[in-house]
């Protein structure tokens, strides 16, 4: 074998002498990894097939987390959506489910993401704009009205107030007669990446980590099918990171949650199987596929070797993918359909378990029904027309993809070492390390685009002069905010205020003590305490977080 490789290396060198390879600085991945003109077995000479790739459904899961992958189960088609009132969004969910969507994904408005009620001063102008407004259990009941919560799996992008919004969901299911043991879904609940990138935090890191371990413990007991954290690289990438930074910071966040769980006294195998991941799928096709494959291998190795997890479910990196919103252009928005299709294909070839495809109009507004339907159809085309689902990890064994997988893994470990040297991820965040790395990468990319070194079709090349926007946009009814104020006023009139007060006092005591906060939160939710009231109570004990501004 070694002799074979030597011969290949010699032949390749000879071959290259007659080849005009071009300026090597022009041929890089989107994240700046140099790409060679050709890859051969020599580039993966150090790889050991069974050790580094293995078989699907087997350690280290590089080729996929299930033994039959999409032959056994298609990925879940899950369009992230929410706008206006709970009633408006309920209509959109029914529309999507009727057209073949297989899971729900809730987009909340900014007040909800920050644990604020729709009628607080800070919420003005934001209610129902960037997602759906959910201020109480009553809103959650409306959101799922006529949707059987026993059958559907629901992902909720909620972080700071995840414990409370999850309690809304559990209590709404109770109203439908569905016990929590039967619920399937995900709360994002990834607070570390909030400090790094998405910025919808509530409390400082330490109490946030405590609430997260309470959630993990509660789920292990009462909601066993729930994914308690969706460790997210999506927002890190959207904030401008490279693929390697997304991979490294996200996995390091995940490993930090595992450490916290173990430190809180939980057995790693009780909670690790319920951790899932959420990645971005960006424009550089092969880099993205390599990133997904590297992620699975790193996680499996760390869980098995470093944290000594025994169950194979603890080693599995299952993930949801969203195509890259930041790659879409306001110019010639129909082109975004094509960008999204390539990105979705990369996610599928990377072995995703669940997928959101962006709509073409999202650089202008939240998507119209027509735009989101095309996005959903894009997934259905990949699944049902292209044939890519027939065989597992079809790019596995490509010299290039394997070499790139190794390279991204190496770059991730380089970052792990830097973060460890700073004292771990929480400390690194406090130092602003990942934040600065991302801001630097974002600015570097912007400059490359402006210098014409990176092409963005319709923006710095192939521009349509005097282009007019020809697609219709979704408008959020301006009465939504008023309507939501009225609903909250009615709710506060109708509920038992004494009971709410007692529940909030119990919650405050639990926050100050050691009791799992999920129990008193659920009691408060059942009594129709609002999101703002519950989060406000928790803040009285835990404090608030504010980020020092830097650019």
């Amino acid at each position: 074998m070694a002799d074979d490789l030597k011969k290949i290396a010699q032949e390749r060198q000879k071959w290259q002498q007659g080849v005009e390879c071009g300026d090597s600085s022009r041929f890089q991945t989107l994240s700046g990894v140099p790409v060679d003109i050709l890859y051969t077995p020599v580039d993966i000479a150090d790889s050991d097939h069974l050790r580094d790739l293995g078989l699907p459904g087997q350690y280290p899961f590089t080729r996929g987390v299930r033994n039959n992958m999409y032959r056994g189960r298609q990925w879940t088609m899950r369009e992230f959506s929410g706008f206006g009132t709970a009633k408006d969004t309920n209509g959109r969910y029914k529309f999507l489910l009727a057209h073949g969507e297989t899971g729900l994904s809730v987009a909340f408005d900014f007040p909800t993401l920050y644990g604020r009620d729709s009628d607080e001063t800070i919420s003005r102008g934001e209610v129902g704009k960037c997602g759906v407004a959910i201020s109480s259990l009553a809103d959650m009941e409306t959101l799922f009205d006529g949707i059987p919560m026993e059958d559907v799996s629901t992902s909720m992008t909620i972080n700071g107030p995840a414990s409370v919004v999850w309690a809304f969901y559990i209590a709404a299911a109770e109203k439908q007669g569905v016990p929590s043991e039967k619920l399937r879904g995900t709360i994002q609940n990834d607070i570390l990446k909030e400090y790094i990138a998405q910025k919808s935090w509530l409390f400082p890191p330490e109490p946030s980590m405590r609430v997260i371990t309470d959630i993990m413990a509660y789920a292990a007991k009462h909601v066993p099918k729930w994914n308690t954290i969706s460790i997210s690289g999506y927002h890190i990438r959207e904030a401008g990171s490279t693929a390697a930074q997304e991979l490294a910071f996200t996995l390091k966040d995940g490993l930090t949650y595992v450490e916290a769980g173990i430190k809180a006294g939980l057995d790693v195998d009780t909670f690790a199987p319920r951790l899932s991941y959420f990645f971005n799928s960006h424009l550089d096709f092969f880099e993205e596929v390599a990133k997904f494959r590297a992620a699975r291998r790193i996680w499996a190795r760390e869980m098995k070797e470093t944290f000594k997890a025994k169950k194979s479910e603890s080693w599995l990196l299952r993930f949801h993918t969203q195509t890259a919103g930041c790659s879409l252009t306001a110019q010639q928005p129909e082109n975004n359909i094509v960008r999204t299709a390539f990105q979705a294909l990369a996610a599928v070839l990377g072995g995703t378990q669940s997928l959101h495809t962006n709509s073409m109009d999202e650089t202008w507004a939240l998507p119209t029904e027509k735009a989101v339907l095309i996005a959903l159809r894009t997934q259905q085309l990949i699944a049902e027309e292209t044939g890519v689902v027939n065989t597992i990890d079809p790019l596995g064994g490509s010299y290039f993809v394997e070499a790139l997988t190794n390279e991204l893994e190496k770059q991730a470990y380089d970052y792990f070492r830097k973060i460890d040297a700073l004292g771990g991820m929480v400390k690194a965040i406090e130092h602003g390390f990942p934040q600065r790395e991302i801001a630097d990468a974002a600015y570097r990319y912007q400059k490359l685009v402006e210098q014409g070194k990176r092409t963005v079709v319709g923006v710095n090349k192939h521009v349509l002069e005097g282009e007019k926007l020809e697609i219709p946009l979704l408008r959020i009814d301006p009465t939504v905010e008023q309507e939501q104020h009225q609903r909250l006023a009615d709710l506060r009139k109708q509920r038992d205020d004494a009971k709410v007060k007692k529940c909030l006092a119990d919650l405050k005591a639990a926050c100050a003590g050691k009791e799992n906060v999920m129990y008193p939160i659920l009691e408060a939710v059942r009594a129709y305490a609002t999101l703002g009231e519950i989060c406000g109570t928790m803040k009285e004990v835990f404090g608030s977080y504010e980020e020092p501004p830097m650019f």
Partner: protein, 133 residues
């Protein structure tokens, strides 16, 4: 040539999308302007106050949350109320064209959408303030 142009880059409301604001802040600084960045979660009151205290010529608002029709007019109103109507308010974000037109009618400066080269923003400010460096 006069003194350096002072720009306040601000993130009003609850919106956490700060990639654009930070990239623009850096680009304006690299173009030679004096740039102050407010950080996240500023109310229009806080922004107007900061604009006065920092004695800026321009306020750039970045809004990707859809709340632009509330936050832009409110910031402009407060500046006027504080006797600082001469401070130019401009901005960017996810803003539909007809909303841009409405904000222009209310006296807002240029609004830039996704895909804008930062050089365009620099050029715009230099043209607005030709006597500044």
């Amino acid at each position: 040539m006069g003194k350096k142009l002072r720009v306040l880059v601000a993130k009003p409301g609850l919106d956490g999308h700060d990639r654009g604001a930070k990239v623009v802040a850096r680009a304006l600084r690299d173009a030679g302007f004096e740039v102050i960045y407010t950080g996240l979660h500023q109310t229009p009151e806080m922004i107007a106050e900061a604009a006065l205290q920092e004695d800026v010529d321009v306020v750039g608002l970045s809004v990707l949350s859809g709340a632009h029709m509330t936050l832009f007019p409110e910031t402009m109103r407060l500046l006027k109320e504080k006797g600082a109507a001469d401070i130019l308010v401009f901005g960017g974000g996810i803003i539909p064209r007809e909303d841009m037109e409405e904000l222009y009618k209310q006296g807002c400066g240029r609004l830039f959408g996704p895909g804008t080269p930062t050089a365009d923003i620099v050029t715009y400010l230099k043209e607005k303030f030709p006597d500044r460096i």
